[in-house]
Amino acid sequence: MNGAQTVVAALGREGVDFIFGYPGGAIMPMYDALFQHPVRHVLCRHEAAAVFAASGYARTSGRVGVCCATSGPGATNLVTGLTDAFMDSVPVVAITGQVRTELMGTDGFQEADVCAITQGVTKMNFLVTDPAKIASTLHEAFALARSGRPGPVLVDIPNDLLKAQIDPAFAESQPLPVRAESRPRIDDAAIRDAVARIRAARRPVAIIGGGVRADAVEAYRTFVSLLGLPHASTIMGLGAGSYHDPAFLGMLGMHGLKAANKAVQRADVLIALGMRFDDRVTGKPDRFARTAQVIHADIDATEFGKIIRPDVTLHGDLRDTLEALVAELVRTQVPRFDDWAVEARLLGGPLPSDRVNEHVLSATDVLDRFFAALPENAVVTTDVGQHQMWAAQRARPTHPRNFATSAGLGAMGFGFPAAIGAQFARPDAPVFAVVGDGGFQMCLPELATLRRYKVPAKVLLIDNQNLGMVRQWQELFFSERYSATNLADNPDFAAIARAYGIEAFFANDPAGADETIRRFVDHQGPALLHAACHPTENVWPMIPAGMTVDDLMEARA
C-alpha cells in the first residue's frame, strides 16, 4: 500500500462519500488511488469552487466536507474557501499535494508553502513528513475539524510520501473521537445565575447564532417556547427559530428586521446563544443593547468579552447549555413573556419595499414569489450581496442546515458551488442557489460540474446589472459616484447555461414572473432562472455600518 492509497483508505474509514477537488502534478498519486474507489471524487472546475462545495456539503449535512488540490496554485486557490469555513466554523478537511521533499525550499515548480499561507485561517494545518504518519494525521485532522468549535484543517502531503510504500501497521490508524476536552462541563452556578436573571427580567430577548448547528435546534426551540420568549437570529442561525412561532422576530443586524433590532435594543436581558456579536449585528458595540444584562453562551471561550462584555458566561456545547437552562427553569415556576413578545413583534412591520418601477421586475418581488413557491424541505444557498440580504430577510428555512451562506467572510462566488456540495450531501432535497450577477460570474464554469454529475440543483440569478450592494453604498455614502460597479454589459446568462446543457428560464416581465418561477422551481433536474431586475433597487431596512438601530434607514433620504 502506498501513501496515496493510505489517504483514500483513511477517508473511507472516516465515512467520506464525496471529495471535491481538482487534480494536478503533485497530487496525482492520490488521484490514481481514487480511480474507481468507493470514495467518489467530484471534479469541480476550479479549486475555489471545490472548497466552497465541500463547505456547502458540510453546512447542509453536519458532516465534515472534504476537498483536495495540487501543490502551488491549486493549494493557494483554496485559501478563500478555507477562510470562509474558519469564519463560519464549518468543518472542512483540505488535502493538498506538495512538491517532492527534495524540492521543498528550492522554489520548485508549483511549490508554495501552503501551511504558512493558511496558518491564520485554519484551526491547524499539518505538513506530513513521515509516510507512516499519513493515516494518523488525517484522522487527527478530521477529529480536530469537528471538535469543539468546528473549522477547517489542512493536510499537506509531499508527492514522494504519496508514492512511498507504507507498512500496513501504520496505514490502518483508526478515526479519533471528538475531543473530550472540547465539550466543557456545564457550570451549574452559572446556569443558576443566568436563570435568576431571566426570571427577574421584564424584556428578555434571545439571539441565536451559528452555534445552533451543534444539534441544538430542538433544545433551542424548547427553551424559547417554554418562556414565550421573543427571539431573533443572526444570519448563521436562520432556521433555528420556527417561522410558525409568533415570538420569532427574524434576522437582526445591518439588514435585519426592524422588530428584531428594536427588541434587542430595548431588552433588559439579552441571551446570546452561539453567536459572536459580529459588527454586522452590533453596529456600534458601545451603543448596542445598552440597557441589557448579557448572558453569553458559546463553545469558544475566546468569544466572551471580545466585543460585548457579558454579565454571565455559559461556556459549553450549546445543546448541553440549553438543556441545563431548561432543567433549571422547570425546577420551579417558569416565567412567561408572552405580553412582551407581542409588544416586541409590534415594534416592526412589513419589510419596506423599494420597487422603483412597476413595469420592471423587482428583485424583492421575485424573491417573495420564489420563497413562497418552495417546498418546506428546500435547501437554499446564497452568494454574497444584496440578494443575500433580501434572501435572508425572506427565506423560511425549517432548519439551519437548510440555509447556507458565506456570512462572516462574505465571499462572493460561494453560493453556486455550495449548492452543488449541498446537493451531494442531501440528494433527496430540492436545492437552490440564490446568486447575483457579480458572484455568479466568479463561478460560472461550475455549470459544467452541474451537467457532468446531473446535479439537480437550481440557480436563481438575480441580475440587476450591478455589483448591487457596493452600488447601494456608493449611492448612500459616496455621493452617487458609481465606481466600477456597473455590469450593464452582462452576458446572456440563459444562453451560457444552455451552452453547458443546462435548462434555462428567463424573466423580465412582472406579469409573467409567477408562472416562470413556478416552472423553474418544479423543473426536474438542473436549471437556471435568469431574473433581469431593476438596477437600482436597494436593501431596506439598513443600519449604516458603525451605527445603531436609532439610525435605521427604511428608504432613500
Binding site: C115, A116, Q119, G120, K123, M124, E140, A143, L144, G148, L176, R179, A180, E181, S182, D300, A301, T302, G305, K306
Partner: protein, 70 residues
Amino acid sequence: MTCDLTLRDARSIARIVNLAHRFNCRCTRIDATTDDEATRASLAFDGPALALTRLRAQIDRILAYEAPAQ
C-alpha cells in the same frame, strides 16, 4: 503581558507573533526551547490593553486547537 506557553507545534509561535503585530502589539521577548515532546516558550508583549486582552484570548484559542488529541 507575558505568556509562558507549552506548545505542541513550534510554528504556533510564529502564528502568535503575527497576531500580535496584527493587533498593534509588539512582541518584546521570545525565549523558546523545543524537543520531541513540546515547545516551551516565554513571550512578552507590549500594546494597548484591549489589544493585549484580545491577543491573550486568541493565544488561548490556538492552544486549544493545537492540544494533542486524547
